[in-house]
């Protein structure tokens, strides 16, 4: 059964710093998503990664995918307070359902 693990679970970082969130998954998948969730809110799609070596960037966030290592990263550059949220990776299982990671709660402080 497909398992998805994220680390760290909690990340407290100062504004202006860089950091990376890691997402490991246990079996082959065709597609990986990154979502952002603000407290009490829905899931906002950030990135969809489709193939090995895929890299996507939006503002201060950059996501990459290594299908051979079954690893995706979400890199945060020069963090700002507005990025404070919980970030989830989710992998498409063979049956088309999404398997979510445990989430990384990011808190950016001045």
């Amino acid at each position: 059964e497909l398992k998805v693990e994220q680390n760290p679970l909690f990340l407290s970082m100062q504004e202006g710093k860089n950091y990376t969130i890691y997402c490991n998954y246990s079996t082959t998948s065709d597609r990986l998503y990154w979502y952002r969730q603000d407290p009490g809110k829905s899931l906002e799609s950030l990135f969809v990664l489709l193939s090995n070596g895929a890299v996507k960037q939006e503002g201060r966030l950059m996501a990459s995918l290594d299908t051979k290592a079954r690893l995706s990263t979400l890199h945060i550059t020069a963090a700002v307070h507005d990025l404070s949220a919980t970030y989830f990776c989710a992998v498409v299982a063979p049956s088309d359902k999404l398997i979510f990671g445990t989430g990384t709660r990011l808190q950016v402080f001045p």
Binding site: G40, L43, G101, G103
Partner: protein, 115 residues
């Protein structure tokens, strides 16, 4: 941009009562899903629905749960006899061709509180 609409946004119910959570998927989408998220935890798959029948269901989706697409536009999740542990945020999602080919759109969620 088309949206998936969920109602109500928040429902409080007594243990043992039946609840129906409603979703209006994007109109031309063919695949429908329910997920739940217990407070502070990860999002978990409940059920997928295609061509008017369940495609897959998780272990969570026991006999207390059922789904229906009664009129071609709404997609409902019914919990027959709610338990305290059913308290969670429930998300509906829809997809045009399945998440491998076309991605997901999530609704804004229904927060269910069982007291």
């Amino acid at each position: 941009e088309p949206e998936v609409t969920q109602t109500p946004s928040h429902q409080v119910t007594q243990m043992g009562q039946e609840v129906i959570l409603r979703c209006v998927p994007i109109s031309n989408h063919l695949y429908f899903y329910w997920y739940r998220q217990i407070l502070g935890q990860k999002v978990e798959f409940l059920v997928s629905f295609y061509n008017n029948e369940i495609s897959e269901k998780s272990e969570i989706f026991d006999d207390q749960f059922s789904v229906e697409r009664p009129d071609g536009s709404n997609f409902t999740l019914k919990i027959r006899s709610t338990k305290l542990e059913d308290s969670a945020m429930y998300f509906c999602a829809s997809s045009l061709q399945g998440p491998v080919n076309s991605g997901y759109t999530f609704g804004s969620g229904t927060r269910l509180t069982v007291v």
